[in-house]
């Protein structure tokens, strides 16, 4: 492990050369569009325009609110106070811009043949250095307010998982050409010296390298139809509508009153009595409304995220993802670090025949599994067949590991799931029984209190009246419904289990709510973890997990038969587990048993 101290002397001795010539060069690059070839062997600064980008973003929010403030104060008869907001906002803006300028001036970075270095900080100085061979991914992002200045941000990811934030190095902002050059150069694993390479790749026009690319996927707009296929659709719709209702409540109902005056709509109270009167008509309509608003929101998000989506493999094996409408993103992953893919199929998307593809790669790790997973997305939701093709293309295998048959897990795994389903069923029955008992117990006065409370919270109070009106057999239906769902889930979850082997990859599949089929290069396995709970030991099962530096770090074949799982693991990485295995009566075996 290298400590920063080792490199400090070299860094300091180069530093004094910065002010005059580096600055001149940067300004030259700024004025002549694409004229100056970027060279980063010297210490560089961030682009001076990035201050204005930040200032404009702040200004877009601050100035209108200041204007609104002025108008409000004037109409409130406080003309003296009305002079304050606009100059105040401008002064604040100027101050922030000044601070930003100081910050910008303090930041310097350079890329040498061995490492990328960055210095920053006005008061607390920071020096960070990443050895080039540790660079696993380069993320170039350009939100719309930065793009208009021809700038972008560059985030360099390493495979290190030490502490928060320290595995990344972020430049806010550099020119688009500079970002593109950094992206190419940092991931380039050539044998020649960096300076030469830098000159070559940067001199040509941006399209020079494109011919060597192979395109793995390009956006098909029909794929946006898959975007709303999530369990979140209703929830997002609910979120959007509650957001509007919340806004209405914030303004003390003025918004709706105004709207109903204009459009001659009934008031809230009238609406609510209408709803109570035509229950069966209104509830489906309300659900439909939620669905539609959810569809709109999710499609809009998908369009913003995946517009202009292209996934390419460049000549040196680097996989490059480009996407985004307002924020254009370019993420590059070194080909060697892409150790596998995940075919991600959440339940709703799966039932409409869609899937998306995620990377199992080193250097894409974020703070937690969820963020890692989000950052690893290499495709929008697309038809399953297309997703499988894309996965095969990413793994560079003619016969995709995803197409091979997967071994079925023992029936005992199904028994475990049935046991869990039984527990859920019993709990559901207890819950339903308790609710039924409560309903017979509570008095009318108590219901009054609950209705009152609900009216305070929800604009259309329906829930408690439904509960009060529900017949006693309703609870039995609830219990049966819970049981049915639990057992259906158990069977689906068992069917989802599977593991298999391919000449270069191992494959594990699991999950009902979210079914993930993971392929992992056998050479990327850096150990095995076998875990058994008391229940698994009783049934002869085990979780056999491959540990790896890529992705989430552990990929498990769950509830596999112990012998079956060990045979699989032993075959997947022959040298590793074999010395610790014994066969039944001393006989060796070449064939794995999948019983």
């Amino acid at each position: 492990m290298s400590s920063p101290d080792e490199h400090r002397p070299a860094a300091e001795e180069d530093l004094p050369t910065v002010p005059s010539d580096a600055r001149g060069e940067r300004e030259g690059a700024a004025s002549g569009e694409g004229g100056a070839a970027p060279s980063t062997a010297d210490w560089q600064r961030l682009h001076p325009l990035s201050v204005w980008a930040s200032a404009i973003v702040a200004g877009v929010f601050l100035v209108p609110s200041a204007v609104v403030g002025t108008v409000v104060l004037v109409s409130a008869g406080q003309p003296l106070w009305a002079l304050a907001p606009v100059p105040g906002a401008l002064a604040f803006l100027a101050f922030m811009t000044y601070l930003d300028m100081l910050r910008l001036r303090a930041v310097r970075y350079r890329v040498t043949a061995e490492r990328m270095e960055m210095r920053s900080g006005i008061i607390a100085k920071a020096y960070r250095s990443i050895p080039r061979e540790r660079v696993r991914s380069v993320d170039v992002a350009a939100p719309v307010y930065v793009r208009v200045f021809g700038l972008c941000s560059v985030t360099v990811g390493t495979g290190e998982k030490v502490g928060a934030g320290s595995e990344q190095l972020q430049l806010l902002y550099v020119t688009a050409e500079q970002g593109e050059w950094l992206r190419r150069d940092l991931l380039y694993r050539g044998t020649a010296g960096t300076a030469g390479v830098a000159g070559d790749s940067a001199d040509g026009d941006p399209d020079a390298g494109e011919e060597a690319e192979t395109e793995l996927a390009r956006l098909d707009r029909r794929w946006f139809a898959y975007a709303p296929a999530t369990t979140a659709t209703l929830g997002v719709g609910l979120g959007a509508i509650t957001g509007l209702l919340g806004l209405n409540a914030q303004t003390g109902g003025v918004g709706w009153d105004w709207l109903s005056d204009q459009a001659d709509l009934p008031s809230i109270a009238e609406m609510s009595s209408f709803v109570m009167g035509r229950f069966l008509l209104v509830v489906p309509l309300a659900l439909l409304g939620l669905l539609v608003s959810g569809v709109i929101v999710l499609t809009a998000v998908a369009v913003e995220t995946w517009w202009d989506y292209r996934l390419t493999r460049e000549a040196d094996g680097t996989v490059r993802l480009r996407r985004g409408l307002l924020t254009s993103v370019s993420l590059s992953v070194e080909g060697r670090r892409l150790n596998g893919v995940t075919l991600h199929e959440p339940f709703v998307l799966r039932s409409v025949g869609g899937a998306d593809v995620r990377a199992v790669a080193t250097g894409l790790a974020a703070a937690d599994d969820k963020k890692t997973s989000a950052k690893s997305r290499l495709s929008p939701a697309m038809p399953r067949r297309r997703a499988r093709e894309l996965a095969a293309g990413l793994m560079r295998t003619p016969d995709s590991p995803l197409d091979g048959p997967l071994a079925v897990h023992p029936r005992e795994a199904l028994r475990r799931r049935f046991t869990r389903a039984t527990v859920v069923t019993v709990l559901g029955a207890v819950l339903a029984g308790a609710l039924a008992w409560l309903q017979t117990l509570v008095s009318a006065a108590w219901w009054e209190v609950v209705h009152e409370a609900e009216r305070e919270i929800i604009p259309v109070p329906l829930a408690t009246s439904t509960v009060e009106a529900a017949p006693s057999w309703g609870w039995a239906v609830l219990a049966v419904l819970i049981a049915a769902v639990a057992f259906w889930y158990a069977v689906g979850s068992y069917r989802g289990l599977g593991h298999g082997l391919h000449p270069r990859h191992l494959v594990v599949r699991q999950g009902m709510a979210i079914r993930d089929t993971v392929t992992l290069e056998r050479s990327a396995v850096i150990g095995w973890r076998i875990t058994r709970s008391p229940f698994q030991r009783r049934l002869g099962l085990a979780d056999v997990a491959a540990t790896t530096a890529a992705g989430q770090g552990v990929y498990a074949a769950r509830d596999v038969g112990l012998g079956q799982g060990l045979a699989w693991a032993g075959e997947a990485v022959p040298e590793l587990l074999e010395p610790f295995l014994v066969r039944g009566d001393g006989r060796g075996s070449d064939e794995p048993s999948h019983d």
Binding site: R529, A549, G553, G561, G588
Partner: protein, 165 residues
């Protein structure tokens, strides 16, 4: 299951016998503390005394049971082995875990000992790989042995090429 179904053979070496006493002391300490927590208010307050003492009895009984059973059980499960090519450990009692890591993927090797372990002359050896699955830990080795194992591991690791990812 057919006759040629593979099984895991246990790693070669047991941990130090003193580890049983270490686990017993540790478990007993936790059990005593958890039992005392409901006893203190029971002494002060009259009305809920019965229930608090009942809780204390349940917690204490359970703690005592674990203190008696767990160390022996662990001693039978916890094993370790270091070969020229890999580290192999087993651990746990109710939930058991077997870990294998090849020498070429080992990043760092540490020994560590808490005050309680020091009292029993024991040490832990922690073997870290690049995986997020967490380090492999051999708990409760004789201190001198742990140091020797760590040295041996460090030597073997350094002799093996690769950047451990």
């Amino acid at each position: 299951m057919s006759a040629d179904t593979p099984r895991l053979r246990p790693p070669r070496h047991r941990v130090d016998k003193r580890a049983v006493w270490w686990w017993t002391t540790r478990s007993l300490t936790v059990a005593v503390v958890l039992t005392v927590i409901p006893v203190v208010p029971a002494v002060i307050w009259e009305p809920p005394r019965f229930w608090l003492l009942l809780a204390a009895a349940v917690v204490g009984g359970l703690g005592l049971l674990i203190t008696v059973v767990m160390p022996q059980w662990r001693y039978r499960v916890h094993r370790w082995e270091v070969t020229d090519t890999a580290v192999y450990t087993s651990s746990g009692w109710l939930w058991q875990e077997w870990r294998v890591a090849p020498m070429s993927r080992v990043q760092t090797v540490d020994t560590a000992r808490g005050p309680l372990q020091r009292a029993f002359g024991l040490s832990n050896v922690t073997v870290t790989t690049a995986s997020a699955a967490g380090p492999i830990e051999i708990a409760g080795l004789d201190h001198a042995l742990a140091t020797r194992v760590a040295d041996q591991l460090t030597d073997t690791t350094q002799a093996t090429p690769g950047d451990a990812t």
